[in-house]
Symmetry: C2
Subunit: 287 residues, 2 copies
């Protein structure tokens, strides 16, 4: 067994799925939960996802070998400050936030010399659902988990968090913090904003009911992520705003290019552009 006790701060889709996977693999004796919503925590206990919870964070983290943050990014700093008096020098802290720059900055400022024990992480997995009922033990199976270890981290601590995710079936890779945030802005944060904007745009059309009525699989898949957790995604957009705004401008340029080709009836160029995109997309070899 990897751990005697783990504390999970935020027992939703991400934290709940981690707990379920560790339990399923019998890799943790006790999983304690902390969160804002007592109903959700009680549900987590009822579902067997966690063993117990408390509104006293000290009780939750006491004797835990690892504390995992799986809450919206803007709650990380205040929760870490709340936690600070309760932790010893040995406990490993990690997180599952989709952006790493602001998390690392907050962790350095709050933890001081104990930053050695903070291993930033980001599982590249999720669904558009939220809450502990949406969690499932296979969420991380064959998915990537990115760690962005800090120069202060010990190899041993990195290795423990790596094992934690590998136990859940994930493949762990290490990236630099800044590089992570730039890449994820492109592959995840930008598409979410584009999908939110599409539903926001169409919901305001007078034909609204019909627009959605006559939608098919393409629209369904394209907009699935627009049902994602609002607070989590607002925080991601704001935390990674420099990268995201830069990409939104780049994206708008590409969209304008296509608009111009359409406006000036450049059929051959449009076919060429769409063909190039089709080839790129097909090479990605999903499923």
């Amino acid at each position: 067994m990897l751990f005697n006790k783990i504390a999970i701060i935020g027992v939703g889709l991400i934290g709940g799925s981690l707990a379920r996977a560790l339990k399923a693999k019998d890799q943790c004796n006790i999983i304690s939960g902390f969160g804002r919503n007592q109903d959700n925590l009680q549900k987590a206990v009822d579902l067997g996802v966690i063993d117990d919870y408390s509104d006293d964070i000290n009780t939750v983290v006491q004797d835990a070998e690892v504390i995992v943050f799986a809450t919206p990014l803007f709650t990380f700093r205040p929760l870490l400050e709340l936690l600070l008096p309760c932790i010893n020098d040995d406990v490993i802290i990690t997180d599952a936030g989709s952006e790493k720059g602001s998390v690392v900055k907050a962790a350095r400022e709050v933890l001081g010399k104990n930053i050695t024990n903070f291993i930033p992480g980001h599982p590249i997995a999720g669904t558009e659902k939220s809450g502990v009922e949406a969690s499932f033990k296979e969420l991380y199976q064959d998915h990537l988990v990115i760690l962005t270890p800090l120069p202060e981290n010990s190899d041993q601590n990195i290795s423990i968090i790596t094992q934690m995710w590998e136990t859940c079936g994930a493949n762990v890779v290490n990236l630099e913090v800044d590089y992570h945030d730039k890449v994820l802005a492109a592959t995840s944060h930008l598409p979410h904003v584009l999908a939110y904007a599409l539903i926001d745009c169409l919901a305001n059309m007078e034909e609204q009911g019909d627009v959605f009525k006559f939608s098919a699989g393409g629209f369904r898949d394209f907009t699935r992520i627009a049902a994602s957790n609002s607070e989590m995604w607002a925080d991601i957009c704001l935390s990674n705003k420099t990268n995201l705004l830069e990409l939104l401008n780049l994206y708008t340029n590409h969209l304008t290019k296509i608009k111009k080709l359409i406006d000036s009836d450049e059929r051959a160029e449009l076919i060429e552009l769409f063909s190039r995109v089709k080839t790129t997309r097909e090479k990605l070899n999903y499923n």
Copy 2:
């Protein structure tokens, strides 16, 4: 049996799936195919999707009760002109184009008084794959097919095309031509352009390999439609350009609104907007 003979012009995903469904339900004795690509037509025969093909369109449509066009929009007019000398006054012509305004205009100009026999149609179904190998008999099952009948059409002819699609498991609804093109611009044509633009944008980033490497399910689903047939989609964009450009401008306004909220750190407004979108998307009740 509904038909003795049907001619399908363009035996790809759409035309091939119609043929397979009619065959599977034993609703047509002979299905003849016409197209640009002889290899594809031979494959269609080998797969049992059609019974025969010819490079002489006269042979293909001879004695057919229905001629179905399932080719890219810009090929509709020249193919209809090619077909004109071969058709009698009784044959019903229909199509499966994603835009109806240009198709109806071309049909009126080419067919003259025989416009009575042209029933414009659009099955709201498809995948990102193309070619006859991608076709399958269940494609239209529980999907909508929109017909945009013309004032000149007889109830009987509309009813025959309605039955043809219902045989394939589809639910048939009638819309006005202009309304169809406006609604489909929003629900289908706009998302395709947005997905094409995203891949085009990211493929040009220096981190390209990593961008795609660290993508997950959200990105996969969002960009699936960017692998769609290039010529078909170029033609849709150009045929429906007025509606599409108007929507692209509207979309850009909504995207700019979100960009401004991010840029000015308006967290509460961003959460409120994302929540509103989430509620709208969840109400759509897909799956």
